[in-house]
Structure formats: structure tokens, C-alpha cells
Symmetry: C2
Subunit: 246 residues, 2 copies
């Protein structure tokens, strides 16, 4: 993984205060040692804050994002988490060079994105824009079904991919951006569903080893210790509601 000397730092736009989908992008930028500005976490006096995010989001144009996260790289504006990683991967050596590996990496990333959406829906099953407290009975049903069938299916699939790729990484034997996302995925699931994940862990030894290895990468280890890392909390995708775990 080599840092690329960018003409200007990337600008990452994401909601401050929660790791959310933005964190998958941050981990790639940090692993690459790429200079970036986390715009909404920058002081308002320096042109940052939520106001700067909303202003950029509201700008009408062909590349207008539907939602954060989005990344500015020079004149390019790229939205959708997996799309941003598709862009960053080849620029920072975070994906192999061959075509098959690139589509394979993106396929894994998109499947992780699907799983992340299903995690979100465990606490927001009936209305994305209403409070969890107003949809608790449906959330209990959704979380129960998620933990019983969907979570084991996704994790088992990821474990098989690691095994088939040589046993240590998701794409071949070197670090790629889906590995970073898998680390974040497991960290989030451990936070949200500690009981269920304790049970699942026996079945995903390779995925667990992969995630532990990502946490020890020098740049990632330094990042996780820094103030740039946002801890999980009850406003993000991964939330710990004990009544939804089992």
C-alpha cells in the first residue's frame, strides 16, 4: 500500500458524530495514508461543519449526491460508499491490478453494503426517518429474523471467500479495501449484537483473524487510537439495543 501524492487533499463529506457509512471510506483513506479533510468535522470557522456538508449536498448538478458519504477529488464528486472505494482502491494499491480481482472486490463490497443496510433495518424496520422507540415491536421481529438466518448466511459467505482466497484476505493474499470494510463490519456487529456475535465467532475463525490483522496494521492501529476515529454509538447504523440481541 503506497500513498499517492495528491495535488490537493481529498474532501470527505459525512455526518459528524457517528461512524456510519463514512467510516468505511475513512478506513481506506487512513490505510492508504492519503491526505484528506473530514469536512463536516472541521470547524465552521475553517469552512467546515454540517452547514458545509448540507451546502455541498444541496448543490444541484449532474453529479449531485443522493446522500452522504461523498468524496471530492479535484473536480470529481463521487457518492455511494462502494463507489468511493471503487475509485480509491486502484489509486492507493488497495485492490489488485487485474480485472477479475477488481470486480470481485467490488462484489464483496456491495454485499457488505447490503448487510450493513440489513443491520440498519433491525432498528428501523418500518420507517427510516422515525425513531427506533416508535417501531420497537417490528424491530424485535426484524432483529430476530436477521440474527437467525441473514447474519449467519452473510458471515458464512465471507468466511468461505477468505478460505477460497488463500485463507488470510478477501481478495487474494494482500490487503484490499474489502478487508478494511470487513474489519469495520465485525467491529460494528460486536458492538450491536455481542451475544449473537459470540455464538457466530466460532464459525468465522478466518474472518476474525483477518479483522484482528487489519486492526494491527500500523496506520490503522494509529488511526484507531486517534481522535479521528468515531466510536460506535446509538445514532449510527450499528446500535446496541440489548433487547434486539439474543
Amino acid at each position: 500500500v503506497k500513498p499517492v501524492a495528491a495535488a490537493r487533499p481529498y474532501e470527505l463529506y459525512y455526518w459528524p458524530g457517528l461512524p456510519g457509512r463514512g467510516e468505511f471510506v475513512r478506513l481506506a483513506l487512513e490505510a492508504a495514508g492519503a491526505p484528506y479533510v473530514d469536512v463536516a468535522r472541521l470547524a465552521k470557522s475553517k469552512g467546515g461543519g454540517v452547514a458545509a456538508l448540507l451546502k455541498a449536498l444541496g448543490r444541484v448538478g449532474p453529479a449531485q449526491p443522493f446522500a452522504p458519504p461523498f468524496l471530492k477529488s479535484g473536480a470529481l464528486v463521487i457518492a455511494q460508499t462502494a463507489n468511493i472505494l471503487l475509485y480509491l482502491g486502484p489509486r492507493h494499491g488497495l485492490v489488485p491490478r487485474d480485472e477479475a480481482s477488481r470486480f470481485h472486490a467490488h462484489q464483496i463490497q456491495l454485499t457488505i453494503a447490503d448487510l450493513v443496510s440489513e443491520v440498519h433495518d433491525t432498528h428501523h424496520p418500518t420507517a427510516v426517518d422515525q425513531y427506533y422507540e416508535d417501531q420497537k415491536p417490528a424491530a424485535k421481529k426484524r432483529a430476530t429474523a436477521f440474527l437467525a438466518t441473514r447474519l449467519p448466511k452473510y458471515l458464512g459467505w465471507l468466511e468461505r471467500i477468505v478460505a477460497a482466497s488463500g485463507g488470510t484476505r478477501l481478495v487474494g493474499r494482500r490487503l484490499s479495501y474489502p478487508d478494511l470494510s470487513a474489519f469495520q463490519l465485525l467491529a460494528g456487529l460486536d458492538y450491536a449484537f455481542p451475544k449473537a456475535m459470540k455464538r457466530e465467532s466460532r464459525r468465522i475463525p478466518r474472518l476474525r483473524a483477518l479483522a484482528a490483522g487489519v486492526a494491527k496494521l500500523p496506520r490503522i492501529a494509529a488511526y484507531l487510537e486517534s481522535e479521528r476515529r468515531t466510536p460506535f454509538n446509538q445514532t449510527g447504523i450499528f446500535r446496541h439495543y440489548p433487547e434486539l440481541d439474543r
Copy 2:
């Protein structure tokens, strides 16, 4: 849009009997005039059927798909609808050549995919793998919230993208794969939520004109008249439950 003479026809793997996510891929293949085999709809005696799909899905390897649709192109196996279109687009002139347009097209496609998942969850809010009939009260809540806020937000965004791109297409002024998906999206929404879509239509004149234009493309018009086109029904993503419309 020029057809590319492929060494072998593509092999598309998707559940037979429902348009689902596979239809977004079919529309691109049909618009390109690309030869393909719709494996699960092929006779079992010719190596097709659901058995062939399940066999391919169960094959363990690094590129193992999580779920259909997936496409075989020579030795490549590509899963995830948007990823397949990312692959097909440049090969068949269904996306502009410049980098910005390609990431822009993919961003739109991924946002359409998010909307498609939200449509699915209107009839499956609490358990992906249980019957609609067993989650009707939550479905009513989810559909109500979807039609009130999410659907207008997504469609309004798509309409603005068309306006900002020159008024006739989603990416610049020529046909690209997100246009084909937008056609299918509106067709599915019209089937599932005719009342809500009648209201929404006034606000999306450019998107409506775009979709009508796609339906008249010679290859697409011929496809829509053919037996290869699967009509919407109550087993797919877009289902018409009158009690969920309003």
C-alpha cells in the same frame, strides 16, 4: 450503442418466473444486442433450469456469488446487479468513456439499487425469508412511510439529475445503463403503487419522458414484446398489494 462480438454468449443466472434484479441486467444485454443465455430459463435438458443456477451458486471459490443475479463472461463470474452493469457498460457503449461519467453512472445505479431494496422491504419489513401475509401490519407502516417521504425524495433526485444532465438522460445526452434501469424502476413502481405513482408523475416529467423513450428504442421495444420479457407478478420485488398503495 454497438454490439460487441463476444467469444461466447454471456451466461446470466437469475431466478426464473420473476423480473427481479435480473431484469436490470437483461435490459442492458438487450439494449446492447449482446448474445446471452438466460441459464435458469433454459430447458433442463439443455443444461438449464433452477438446478443449473443452484449448482453454479453453490460452487465454492473466491468469486462465489452471495446471491443471483450473476453473470459469466468467459472465465469471469460477476455478481451484484450494479457490478454487472459496471462491467457491461463500457464493453457495449452503455456509458460514456470519461472517468467522471463512469463513476457518476455507477453512483446513480447504486442509488437505484437502494431504492429497489426499499421497495422490496415495503412488503417484507420484518423478515426477508417469511411470507408477506405474516408481516402485513408492519408492511402497511413501512409502505406508508416509503410513499410519504422516501419515494418522493428518490424520484425528485432522479428528476433533478436528468434536468442537470441536459434534460433527456441521466448521464449526459446519450443512452447509458442507468437510463435502462430507470425505465424498469418506473415500470415496477407503476405496477406496485399505481395510485401513488399517478400523484408522483406530475413532479417527474423528464424522468417519465426518459422512460418512455427507452421503451421505444428498437431493441428494447422488440424485447418488451418478446417472451424473454418477464411480466411483473406477486413473487418479485415490485408487487401490487392494493392495501399498501394509497
